[in-house]
Symmetry: C2
Subunit: 245 residues, 2 copies
């Protein structure tokens, strides 16, 4: 069996998220598996580096699948982009060693969350950024962000209420850049819990609008209580940028 | 009567272009006039700096209208962005002197045309850029572009077959920047004829793929013959960036 790795882009707007769902043609994984099964003339199961929520985008999702078909990777790439809907693209395909596993071998993930800090909508970013009309204090958000960096138990920052596995994660970077009205939050770490980035974002936006003090983050993280953290920020602002191995 | 100037953004994908059409709700001007007439409680006619074709986008279209309503410009801005569809936004509104005319007073326009020089589609630029799979010679296109700069009779570069007015225009800048696979063509000039930029683009892309020599541009422009120029490049790659007064 050959092991094939794909680099995938998608606009999540129309989809119920990455993960395949029974009787639904509206997931990225489902779309890919259907197409690859046709291409390879055998049932194909695609393993992603991780799930993305409904409405979340990806510029660098990684997935792999096993197949016995003998198409070249160039032929596969052309086939995929010919038949995929226009909001999903495979931007690279390579044959990799049998042991490569896109989820288990992932070392680091990088996500970007975009906020337009203006009352004026941006037509060209409307699917990829959220609008925050109230003037945000970027410096306060930067100070708050620093508390999330490093290794912490993020059990208060997930919607998964009864985690069986560890909820300890390491955030290497949580930085904010400003370009005009556009704020870009970069999250880089060894992995993120279900909804973790969006709950941290909901919390940081409350810091930005003065509802929370940056210094309150330490006790908040230690509390481990979801109900003390901020709201879940909208999915559309979030994009999976890169997975490192 | 007050004279109101608006700065407007739109994604042209869904529209039949800027210019109002009888019995169609699918033009930008038509959408704006309908909304502004409701807002002002009187019939409003909107004058744009110029038409854009079906499918062409704008980041900085300028338009003005006259009204006797007494709303503040802030109230107008909020009203517009509350009721406009999400692919049109008014990003600035100001009251201007009675004599200001968005089309007659325009001194310079700047457009951008985007080309992805790759066989791999880009999900996030699919509405704003065209795909050119064949490797383009950027240097040859730059040399060809230089022939279009300055003042010329562009009558071979318009779809308007019987122009009554002058077809002489001055192009101040036609530059090409490259960022990875993305090529950005910047057109800056005192005005552009109907389809002029898209026909120049169709011609430059033929230079880029080796079908024409850069040096053939001089005779081509002098010929004044539409049938000797390249094909009309797709609308979706084109965006009106700025109008100067």
């Amino acid at each position: 069996m050959r092991n094939i790795r794909m680099l995938i882009q998608y606009e999540g707007t129309r989809y119920l998220g990455w993960q395949r769902q029974e009787a639904s043609d509206s997931t990225i994984q489902g779309k890919l598996e259907k197409l690859l099964s046709q291409m390879c003339q055998e049932p194909i199961e695609v393993q992603g580096s991780g799930r993305t929520d409904a409405g979340v985008h990806a510029k660098g999702q990684v997935a792999n699948f096993h197949t016995s078909c003998d198409l070249s990777t160039d032929e596969m790439l052309a086939y995929c982009n010919r038949y995929l809907p226009e909001d999903i693209a495979v931007i690279d395909i390579a044959e990799v060693p049998e042991r490569f596993h896109s989820r288990l071998n992932a070392k680091e993930k990088c996500y970007c969350y975009q906020v337009i800090n203006s009352g004026i909508p941006d037509v060209f970013l409307r699917r990829y950024a959220v609008l925050a009309a109230e003037k945000l204090d970027v410096d306060a958000m930067r100070r708050a962000a620093a508390y999330f960096c490093g290794e912490h138990d993020f059990k208060g920052f997930t919607s998964n209420r009864r985690m069986k596995k560890s909820s300890v994660r390491r955030i290497e970077e949580l930085s904010i850049t400003k370009e005009g009205d556009l704020l870009r939050f970069t999250f880089r770490g060894d992995g993120f819990l279900y909804h973790m980035i969006r709950i941290i974002m909901g919390t940081l936006l409350e810091v930005g609008s003065g509802k929370r003090r940056p210094e309150s983050m330490e006790a908040l993280i230690q509390s481990g209580k979801r109900e003390l953290a901020g709201p879940l920020a909208p999915a559309k602002g979030l994009t999976l940028m890169e997975v490192k191995y």
